[in-house]
Point group: C2
Chain length 555, copies 2
């Protein structure tokens, strides 16, 4: 690190007591042992136990894993849905001093094999439904010595070539609850998550016990969670541990709800469970909150979601979605910001008491911001030359993030050198402004910003404005070289079938003009048949720039 | 420590980012900069600023202290009331990597000199009103090189022999706000508090940045504090940093209220300020909550304290007091348990959702317990032979406490050897039972328990029962050797003047009999003129045992 640690005077505190995440469950089993956990099975029935029962099974599981040879430092892959067994595996694996590798079912087979091999996992735990995502690559998995299938069934009834094979409940049977947990170095990894960018191989973020423990405390405080809350684990646990709702709930003694296997088409199941279990807090992304809203819209009578806080990550939640949740069910969508590299909580949106005089529309507008950085996290805005910028609501810079639960390298990856500063900041790649009240607003990806005559223009703002035009199916804006202004924005627009040929450049520009300064408007609008996309459906701006980059220069 | 730390697999998290308590204020100044701090001056007026303003003054103060030679590892004594300047000193001193030594105005001159010398403090910061508590011992203070008077006035207008002399506001004038804070080793001490027992010299607890930081997070979570709260710092900051309300409030962005100088006779001032500033959370002890209640009782109309949580430490809050706060003002007195050695939070009392069916009287009775241990803290009950006892609500053992904010030695003190276990538990000296719901109930000091025929009898329970008799002025119960039962309880009773000679042993025993098993009743009740006391007014049970110890043996 690029900072010196000053020694000071010795304390008498027990500083050697390590912050180990699994102690959170152990303490919950003691202090809130009777609090319920509800977990939806594949057949739709709900399995129920409590923190005491969960902890006992975790002890048995850890004893079983030990017998399979899992010990301190080992990496164990887990590929499962949002189930109580995923949580048990997390507590048992990390409790033994091993590392739970989160395996994402949504990445390509190639990337999945890369991730497992790169981590050096010795054991893979896989839901019986997800075996087809492992079986085809099993021959490439150089370090894997066995497979534990997460299932109710017995090992010999499973149809698979994976070898050697163990079955979850079978393994637990006959194991005792007595266990001596090691005190694990808090700087050791407890879980690993690989982040997939638009280019290159996934990058490994290995979160320490200490980081996750402190993050969990921060989440509890910043979501104002109490033992009266009921938390539902909607964000997938295979990605950034699903924001760790299943770790935060036991910390505060809140009831915990696992929805099990679900797809975007099963939003009704999530809503029904949310209502049946009286959920008060959940987290997710617009991608799942939108279909949930779609289902709620059709419900009659409308459900009462009053007091339910829906923490929305990933991207800025659409204003219309936030408003409709409020209007239909009095549910409060709260935007929070973070990334795999930040465990993920960086900032959360709330209305300051000092801003109570804002109009209703101003309040809604404020709710779209990424929010205020939580205590414990350092943020700064940095320009292209590395200068720090003021929090004036105007200066656009790349957001740098540092803190005890922020990663400061990628696991065995040369790309670490360019992604982090010497003094421990992660360069988020996001271009942001921060206003004097300290609300962060992400305006674009830093590399996608258009630098026009020394001023920044956000391509995201232009895209959102153009896409609001009724004739537009989709739009992408890129910054490209310009002989006079260094860069200027260029808009690529796909019109809806019935509007093709009937809408002009001027129609579009007139439509968006009220929202922008004149110099921010694109010089040209190209009507195209399609816009280049990445594998996950985002606009491939790098490809678009390659394709259209000389448009203004050759004019 | 008596445990091995297991290494595990390396993480990529920023584990070198040190938990430094002053960053809490720095972050608050950024994220909640506009939130108010109200501090009562000696003349009754209220000084107001906000976290941004507080942080700026802390920066200037730190620059001034640096010029006085204060640096990493130095100890700086502070003797002041509950003022914003105490808080500023705490943040500036610990921010520099130095240690704030809490100087208690209530201890004897001799003990005060011992504490300062034992700590090796270089600078003493003292309220102008409290100079008389330092001046008489200044010649004995071997390591002190200067005195900073906490005052509005100029140094040359102060009447004192202390030399060299600096004045607080004078010192701040002309100092700039620019400062480079060091990153201080989180294991270094940020503050020191000396605990005074009934015998021997005070013992030094030097709390680390890490311990206090984690404690602050735990307090915020377990008191369910939010930015909508208003916290008032009633517990004296010169003892266990007053439970650190002034550190917890900025952590969550809550408004903070300092009552300044007050005495037990000024309870009205506290109540008036609590109402004027709309306080929602405070902490204190029955010793101050009782006179506050006395004042509220006389108010007409009664104040509305609805939603106000009054966290009561030190000793078990009297049931009548808790009920009256509730009946008069709907204020909720919440018992919490801890000690200097535990920073202090160990456990807090709340009604579990699973116990909602309790009758009203059962609920009140439950509120007298010391509560449920907070997540992060290990507790166990240990008998005289060192065996661990079950949490069955019956087994009485000494309460052992361990955790990241529990001390595991006293600073340069040979008494550490007997007070702590090898694996980091503090032997609290309290005898307790813990029920299956994990509520801790302190029944006595462990050494005062009576061991009769292999069963424990609580002297505290007997005393409370006897003192409820209308003829009794005070009562003390001790366990003394008995030829048949090993030990038996003996009660010493002082009758009220008008009842002397008119009340018999049988009257007392009949009165308390319904509350005890027969074998728990004292064999003898001695009516005496006075009961031996310690310097702070507690019953000196050791002295009483010396005086009456052979009573049953010689019979």
């Amino acid at each position: 690190m690029g900072y010196e640690i000053v020694r000071g005077f010795p304390s008498t505190s027990n500083n050697d007591y390590q912050l180990n995440v699994p102690t959170i469950l152990r303490h919950a089993a003691r202090s809130y042992g009777e609090v319920e956990i509800a977990s939806r099975n594949l057949d739709g029935s709900v399995f129920r136990y409590d923190y005491r029962g969960c902890y006992r099974r975790v002890c048995r599981l850890a004893n079983a894993l030990r017998k399979l040879g899992v010990g301190p430092g080992d990496r164990v892959g887990v590929l499962d849905f949002n189930t109580h067994r995923f949580a048990e595996l997390f507590y048992a694996i990390s409790g033994l001093g091993a590392v739970l590798l989160q395996i994402n079912p949504r990445v390509s087979m190639e990337d999945r094999a890369y991730i497992i091999n790169h981590s050096g996992a010795r054991l893979i735990c896989v839901s019986d439904l997800l075996i087809p995502l492992i079986e085809p690559i099993s021959k490439q998995l150089n370090t894997v010595e066995g497979y534990l299938v997460i299932t109710d069934r017995a090992a010999d009834s499973l149809q698979t070539q994976l070898q050697p094979l163990y079955a979850y409940e079978e393994l637990l049977q006959g194991e005792g609850e007595d266990i001596q947990w090691p005190m694990v170095d808090e700087k050791a990894a407890c879980s690993a998550c690989y982040t997939t960018g638009t280019t290159g191989k996934p990058k490994g973020v290995y979160v320490s016990h200490r980081a996750l423990y402190l993050h969990t405390l921060a989440v509890a405080i910043n979501l104002n969670l109490t033992r009266h809350d009921v938390m539902m684990q909607i964000t997938p646990m295979f990605h950034v541990l699903g924001w760790g709702a299943f770790i935060t709930a036991p910390l505060v003694g809140a009831k915990l709800v696992f929805p099990g296997m679900y797809t975007l088409e099963m939003a009704n199941v999530l809503v029904d469970m949310l209502l049946a279990e009286k959920v008060t807090v959940t987290c997710g992304a617009p991608a799942i909150f939108m279909p949930m809203l779609e289902y709620i819209r059709k419900m009659d009578p409308k459900p009462d979601l009053k007091g339910c806080r829906m923490v929305s990550g990933a991207s800025e939640p659409p204003l219309a979605m936030m408003k409709e949740y409020w209007e239909l069910g009095k549910a409060d969508v709260i935007h929070a910001y973070g990334a795999t590299e930040t465990t993920p909580l960086v900032s959360i949106n709330f209305l300051k008491d000092s801003l109570q005089d804002l109009s209703e529309e101003e309040r809604w507008d404020l709710k779209r911001k990424q929010g205020i950085p939580v205590v414990g996290i350092d943020v700064k805005l940095v320009d292209e030359e590395g200068n720090e910028l003021p929090f004036d609501g105007k200066s656009v810079g790349e957001l740098y993030i540092r803190g005890p639960w922020v990663t400061c390298s990628y696991h065995e990856d040369p790309r670490s050198a360019e992604a982090f500063t010497e003094d421990g900041y992660w360069k988020s790649g996001d271009a942001a402004v921060i206003d004097p009240n300290c609300y962060i607003k992400i305006v674009d990806r830093f590399k996608d910003l258009v630098k026009s005559g020394g001023e920044w223009i956000s391509t995201v703002d232009l895209e959102n404005a153009i896409m609001a035009h009724p004739a537009v199916l989709e739009a992408g804006v890129i910054g490209i070289p310009h002989p006079e202004w260094e860069e200027r924005p260029l808009a690529l627009v796909v019109l809806r079938e019935e509007h093709k040929g009937k809408v002009s450049k001027e129609d579009i520009l007139d439509f968006i003009a009220p929202k922008f300064a004149k110099w921010q408007l694109p010089d040209e609008i190209l009507f195209v048949e399609e816009i280049p996309k990445t594998s996950v459906g985002k606009i491939a701006k790098r490809v678009a720039r390659e394709q259209f980059g000389d448009f203004y220069m050759k004019k």
